[in-house]
Symmetry: C2
Subunit: 360 residues, 2 copies
């Protein structure tokens, strides 16, 4: 259980899951798009998704309880959940958790918040950026592919700033930042019912330089995306897929995603197997009208040229893949000038273990 509180009402923007079965907290938070907000409450362990109308009431009750404890309006409270899908929230426990979280509220406690929302994440995910030479501040906290009862992993990200922007501008900035970070992230190809990215800015610093704010926001989001990929369920490696020479951003990202979701590519990286054929095949599953004359590089070494896999020192490459916890794969499509970076991880025994052995 974690609570974020802002002394001043904050403008905010959110990017939420595209899943048709949005969780109750996503629906409730989305309904407050036009409000200024002062607090955000998060629970882990139960996603409050697939719970119908009763789930909506529970999410609303969470907001009301936080508002009551903090002496603010219910409309000023956002809500997020992560955990088991399909079970009602244990409201007594939740209310008790809210009471304790409010008691512990303190500006220095943000690392406790980052820990409170962890499930099987192996490390808390926090980024900090100074804005305007230290006059303003951006704090980002995320949770990734971990679970209490191993169910659907949920990505939750909270970005908090004391910068001063109207909500429509926050919305634009957040969209741009999410496009180059969380939308380029895949652990296992499933989009959860609860995925949410919140950006709150309460304007207390009066910092309003949108260009430097956008830059800091992009950096913070990319850093969090990398942390989430590195800490994907069972992951042993972070894989950075740089796609260049695409006809459009969408194409670059689409090709990168094909590689990132291929279980055959991901298991090969887990096994330190320089299996270029699987990468080529994954690229080919993007609906190109004609086969691209693709070059492929792993760790800077060329392994395919013009769509043909070339000879390279496999033993050396195997060693390289074994020794590095972060591996870069470059794809040069030679079709245009767009590029994208996609973040993913390998697929290990532990992924299967986490998701099969434990039961609900």
């Amino acid at each position: 259980m974690g609570i974020i509180y802002s002394e001043k009402p904050a403008n905010w923007a959110g990017v939420f899951t595209t899943n048709a079965f949005k969780s109750a907290p996503v629906i409730v938070s989305q309904g407050k798009m036009d409000e200024k907000v002062r607090a955000l409450v998060v629970n882990s362990g139960n996603a409050n998704a697939g719970t119908g109308k009763e789930g909506i009431s529970d999410a609303e009750e969470m907001c009301a309880e936080v508002a009551r404890r903090l002496g603010i309006r219910e409309e000023e409270v956002l809500v997020a959940s992560t955990g088991v899908i399909g079970e009602r929230l244990p409201m007594e426990k939740i209310k008790d958790g809210i009471k304790r979280a409010v008691e512990q509220l303190s500006p220095d406690n943000f690392s406790k918040f980052a820990e409170a929302i962890m499930t099987t994440d192996t490390f808390p995910k926090i980024v900090e950026r100074e804005l305007d030479g230290g006059k303003a501040f951006l704090l980002g906290i995320g949770k990734g592919a971990g679970m209490i009862h191993p169910q659907m992993a949920t990505m939750l990200v909270f970005l908090l700033a004391d910068a001063d922007f109207p909500s429509h501008q926050l919305k634009e900035c957040l969209k741009k930042a999410v496009d180059v970070s969380f939308h380029c992230l895949s652990v296992d190809g499933d989009t959860s019912t609860n995925d949410s990215v919140f950006l709150l800015a309460n304007g207390m610093s009066e910092m309003d330089d949108v260009i430097s704010f956008q830059q800091a926001l992009n950096e913070a989001c990319v850093d969090l995306a990398k942390m989430i990929a590195r800490d994907g369920e069972g992951a042993t490696k972070l894989i950075l897929i740089k796609v260049m020479g695409a006809k459009s951003k969408e194409e670059a990202r689409g090709v990168g995603r094909r590689i990132a979701v291929s279980p055959l590519v991901k298991t090969a990286f887990f096994g330190a197997d320089p299996n270029v054929g699987r990468i080529l095949c994954a690229i080919g599953n993007y609906p190109f009208e004609t086969p691209p004359l693709v070059d492929i590089f792993i760790g800077g070494e060329k392994v395919a040229e013009n769509g043909v896999i070339i000879k390279f020192d496999k033993e050396k490459m195997r060693e390289f893949m074994k020794e590095n916890r972060e591996i870069e794969v470059e794809i040069e499509l030679k079709r245009g000038n767009s590029s994208a970076i996609v973040y993913t991880c390998d697929l290990s025994y532990d992924y299967v273990k986490i998701n099969a052995e434990y039961t609900t």
Copy 2:
């Protein structure tokens, strides 16, 4: 190494991979669409993909060698390969294999052919159908998700009949049969560079009743698709996903595929975990305009109603999932009258083992 030979030139139709990087044998066989054919040669162990122009020459040389040995024209020979992507064929070994395969040609040897094209398949995949009360015959042979050197799994299917249809009619029949079988099959969501389904009909029986032919062909293809799913890499269970009440065939198949490719759903089935939330979430990743009021059944028992997960006996369901090697999941979307069945398998430790531990 395997060879199929027809006494009489046969009309034929083929359905090939949609991957942009089609293998050399796919390109060479597709170039013979307008020919009648008399033979088909298959090798396993090397996919002859990602091999450029030299790969094309090698595939052509395979056809030429078969033609020479059988005393027929090169244009009358089709070719298919499965195995490692990105390495040249060992042509001396291939030619030697062709010599031996031609020497062993016999009408009774089709089970040997089914075994010859196996890689890590755990059983040969053969279906037989009598046509026209036994006056004609349809034989289907497939290979699924196995590998010599574990690389990209390739699906190859050969359907042989002595029925008498022009190639445009075979093409139509094959398209219909593939739509309800192999296009509804997923082991791991990757489409290989070599996937091919061939249908040859040499007309020796003069059977030309297209309705009963279509029915037999559909049945044969569905049976082979089920065998391939059941024998997916590391699979312990066949999962049949019946999607009903969809607005279109495409929607029904699309929803089924979302479930079939979800690693979270597949690991849950491996672990006999009745994790309905994961199924609901996978359905929700289909781009519906509004959330469907979906009902979900596992093994005939209702587990979700109108998009809300309901109470059911989890212990009993866990036992059911543990004890059965074939599990039916029914999805009722209540949006329309279209339906589809999608075939898949679970995701186990052995999938990771097969694809990570062995190296090229």
